[in-house]
């Protein structure tokens, strides 16, 4: 048993011969917001995707809410209901309306009634500021609106943990703020979050902990203040000076 929402011990992942995650030890407490930073190719997205089993680890242990998950034995569909994910490219369902996107999984997986799923879906759309877009198709939305719908869609399954994989990287600069604001609200409500991002402002302001990854390893982990103002490792210093 562990008290963590997420606990990874000695996590390893290979893509063919490429060793992308090397003996990762990583924990997330309840209501904690952890931001993963690092250069592209450092393994942050892969690690995030291992946490909801979109990528399968090749070695190590992974605990979700205290229970070790064995991909061969455990029902991953059930685990994924508790671990929501938001993608860089939104991945909204283009053949469904905004509300249809949000209702889909509650209807089909949780077997909610149409009335209840619709009611909850509309509330979530209100929450992300898109109550008036319920009947619109995703192709009519801006990038920022799409990503907020994607957040509402993930929240509709009432997850305990939310994973964000570069949620603002595909957005025009002027649309980044609205998505970060939505995420900030979520963090303030006590959602447990793991966020891969290049938005250092968000990391500074919202993160409880910042984790710097390089070459498939966690180099350094600490409060935003520790990482941004007093990085101990040379690699971290080099990375931060290259982007700030």
């Amino acid at each position: 048993m562990s008290d963590y929402m997420i606990e990874a011990n000695q996590l390893n992942k290979y893509f063919g011969d490429l060793h992308v995650l090397k003996d990762i030890d990583f924990q997330v407490k309840e209501s904690e917001v952890v931001v993963l930073i690092g250069a592209s190719g450092s393994g942050k997205s892969t690690m995030l995707r291992c946490l909801n089993f979109l990528e399968m680890k090749n070695g190590g242990e992974l605990y979700i809410q205290g229970k070790e998950i064995n991909p061969k034995k455990d029902n991953l569909n059930e685990v994924r209901q508790r671990v929501g994910m938001v993608f860089q490219h939104f991945n909204l369902f283009p053949h469904k309306t905004v509300l249809g996107n949000v209702m889909e999984a509650p209807l089909q997986v949780k077997k909610l009634s149409k009335a209840q799923a619709g009611e909850e879906g509309k509330q979530l759309l209100e929450k992300v500021g898109l109550g008036d877009k319920a009947d619109v198709f995703p192709s009519r939305l801006s990038g920022g609106q799409k990503q907020r719908v994607a957040i509402a869609r993930a929240l509709a399954m009432k997850p305990e943990i939310m994973l964000f994989d570069e949620p603002t990287s595909a957005l025009d600069p002027e649309l980044v703020g609205e998505v970060l604001q939505t995420m900030k609200t979520l963090a303030q409500e006590g959602m447990t979050m793991v966020v891969v991002t290049h938005e250092m402002g968000f990391a500074r302001e919202v993160a409880d902990r910042v984790v710097y990854m390089h070459d498939g390893k966690i180099v350094e982990s600490g409060t935003p203040q520790e990482i941004f103002e007093n990085p101990k490792e040379e690699r971290t210093q080099a990375f931060l000076s290259s982007i700030l």
């Binding site: 994910m85 889909e104 399954m157």
Partner: protein, 221 residues
């Protein structure tokens, strides 16, 4: 060869009852065979993209055989071969032969359209706790079907015209009626052109139907 416009028009009008009946048979043949072919096509498309090698292999052989042999041979094999063990009408042996034939092409159309839907769509479905089958049914297939419609419509038109081969085993569809009329009157050219007009009408109607479905499914654009 004797042909003039007035004579052609008279023949077209005076034979409309006979050809209307034949056209219904052509349509029935097309509808039944395409309906079955869609199921065959979907099944073999899934087999081809499955991780199970044996299934992929069977699908490849089926598609290779169908594409590698003439349709008329397939229909005759169905007619003479199948009726040896199972007495079915000429109509049904052609319908099954056409379904068997079109199924291979439709399988390739479905396979292509399913594989053209981005991986992100599957990941989004799975990340919400949807099973692989549910994601396929609710997320991938509706989008894939929409993308498949233009080539499917094309295949339906080919199927409709290929149903004329039923004439060779005595099904009185449009082409069979035309050749019979030609033989009776020694005026083949007029009756072949009459049959051509009927095929054009049917293809026009089919195009309208496919267009209407396409338009309906395009609502999300």
């Amino acid at each position: 060869m004797y042909l003039n416009v007035v004579h052609f028009w008279d023949s077209l009008i005076s034979s409309r009852g006979m050809f209307f009946e034949a056209a219904q048979l052509t349509l029935a043949l097309t509808a039944v065979s395409i309906f079955i072919a869609i199921f065959i096509g979907l099944m073999f498309a899934f087999m081809k993209i499955s991780d199970i090698k044996v299934l992929e292999w069977i699908a490849n052989i089926y598609i290779y055989v169908v594409r590698g042999t003439p349709l008329i041979v397939q229909i005759f094999v169905f007619y003479y071969g199948l009726t040896e063990i199972w007495m079915i009408s000429g109509f049904w042996s052609v319908a099954l032969g056409l379904a068997f034939h079109n199924g291979a092409y439709i399988a390739e159309i479905f396979r292509g359209s399913i594989q053209s839907i981005g991986k992100g769509q599957t990941e989004a479905g799975r990340s919400l706790g949807m099973s692989q089958a549910l994601t396929m049914r609710r997320i991938i297939l509706p989008q894939a079907f929409r993308r498949a419609l233009p080539p499917l419509g094309n295949q339906f038109i080919i199927g409709l015209k290929d149903s004329s081969l039923a004439a060779f085993i005595g099904v009185s569809e449009i082409f069979a009626v035309a050749t019979t009329q030609g033989a009776n009157t020694f005026d083949y050219m007029t009756w072949l052109l009459v049959s051509a007009v009927w095929y054009l009408i049917l293809v026009f109607l089919l195009t309208l139907v496919v267009g209407a479905v396409e338009k309906k499914l395009a609502a999300s654009d």
